[in-house]
């Protein structure tokens, strides 16, 4: 019985090794997929190891824990149900079980580890790794970059190069800020200053002549001429006056006359 126990232990070890090898292949693939992307963004290729390495460790650990003999049976149809039956009957002693254990132990000892892996998939993965490796080397050697993520100006410069958009809203906002003054926006600087001031207004009821509860005939009331707060009013600055030449006025006038068919 010890030979079959050793045989089962060895096949489990080989399964775990195959699982770890698969995880390494997958991790390498991930790293080599990310490396060209990082190079194109102006970053070093080894930054791709940052996500790939923990992913590989996680894959290897999780899948190695889940290793079961059923997985080996999937790869080896001639041993279907025999490995699991052998494992489940390790403590049983009868002639049929011994015959099964002996046969399974012999088959496992003659087995090569490559039969525990899907060789087609492995070949495809290795091929993919080779192609991605060449791509990474080429991009790295020729320093091919789409944009340089380490330089912020190149990020904004990218926007200015887009056809149909002359200025980004950030650049445009800066331009507006530096080009126009308060005078351009509000006319007189004093109006802008006035607009920024806070005015405190207070109603003085006891200075008022009117007592709505007592007085009658308010419509005949003669109000004092001098009292009352001055009505604030604004005067437009002369700079707002139209400065259209007589020639231009004549053009506009004739245009409208034509539109209305000289009715006026």
């Amino acid at each position: 019985m010890s030979s079959v126990v050793q045989a089962l232990a060895s096949i489990k070890k080989r399964l775990v090794a195959a699982t770890i090898f698969n995880a390494l292949l997958n991790g390498t693939l991930i790293a080599l997929i990310l490396a060209p992307v990082f190079i194109l963004f102006g970053l070093q290729w080894f930054y791709a190891l940052v996500p790939a390495f923990p992913y590989t460790i996680y894959l290897a650990f999780v899948h190695a824990k889940k290793v079961r003999l059923a997985q080996a049976e999937e790869r080896l149809p001639e041993l279907e149900w025999q490995l699991r039956t052998t494992e489940d009957t390790l403590g049983v002693e009868n002639e049929v079980v011994e015959s099964l254990h002996q046969r399974v132990a012999n088959k496992i000892n003659d087995l090569h580890s490559r039969y525990l892996m899907d060789s087609k998939k492995v070949v495809h993965k290795v091929g993919g790794i080779a192609i991605l490796l060449i791509l990474t080397i080429v991009l790295s050697v020729f320093q091919v970059k789409l944009i340089d993520a380490t330089n912020p100006e190149s990020v904004t410069g990218l926007f200015s190069k887009v056809d149909g958009v002359k200025d980004s809203f950030i650049v445009a906002a800066d331009k507006i800020k530096t080009t126009f003054s308060d005078r351009d926006l509000y006319g007189d600087e004093k109006v802008a200053d006035l607009g920024n001031e806070e005015l405190n207004l207070e109603l003085k009821r006891d200075e008022s002549e009117i007592d709505p509860g007592k007085d009658q005939g308010l419509h005949n009331k003669a109000f004092k001429q001098q009292d009352g707060a001055a009505i604030p009013w604004a005067v437009a600055d002369a700079s707002y006056n139209e400065d259209i030449s007589d020639e231009d006025k004549a053009i506009v006038k004739s245009y409208f006359e034509k539109l209305t068919g000289d009715e006026s």
Partner: protein
Amino acid sequence: MIEMARIKENFDRILDTAGEVVIGQREVIKQVVVAMLCDANVLLEGNPGLAKTLSVRTLAGLMDLKFSRIQGTPDLMPSDITGTYILEERNGKREFKFQPGPLFSNIVLMDEINRATPKTQSALLEAMQEKQVTAGNNTFPLDKPFFVLATQNPLEQTGTYNLPEAQSDRFLLKVLVNYPTPEEEMKIVDRYSEVLQEKVIKPIVSKNALLQLQQLVRKVPVANDIKHYVVDLVTKTRSHKELIEHGASPRASIGLILAAKAHALVEGRDYVNKEDVKIMACPVLRHRIILNFEAERNNFKEDDVVGYLQR
């Protein structure tokens, strides 16, 4: 060391030789062999004229077993099958001597069990269960191995006493005997409409060898996953109320595992696989489940429901 290849060879010879006598019922004979290896009884259901008796008689000859046939009739008494005491004179003295009935065989074919009275059915079922017969105050053990193959005619159910479900549960398998294919029927016509040449059947497996094989079947190992699969399947027959009124008992789980082991041995394997369980599921379960009205309304048979549960 067990030579599984040799065991398979012997079983193949049994099936091939039986196939030379009985045309077109290889699967039926194989299932009966499986039941015999499990030391269990079989319910055979099929229309008249499908070589049920011939199949069982042939198997008895191939396994060197004593065969007897009982025809179920409404006037059949229990003592007609178990045996009775008769008065015998010997050396001037008269004494009662027990005359064994047809139950004292290795293979008993009970034709149309549903036509016999419930009392006679009980006497037979007692023999099946206890492997002994009680007559008067005495108990007589039956010879080993002992099998009962009971047949039921699905036609002409008038005046019959259907086996209650509790009793049909005691049969390991219910085997359906179907009509042969046209090619097989041509061969049957050629053989039996011309000059009859009775084939001499020589035993391939002895009685003792059969007893040893019965012991061997119980030693065939089963993986835990297979046991879980069997228990899940039988449990589903109890929980699937949309189609099944009454499901199978744990006796069905035991029976299915045993039948799968015997099937694996007949195939020359020293382990059970899922195919063994799938093949034996219908014969083991079809007489242990009762379908509800909804299933019957949709014309589902027990085999359809068992097949559906296995998906």
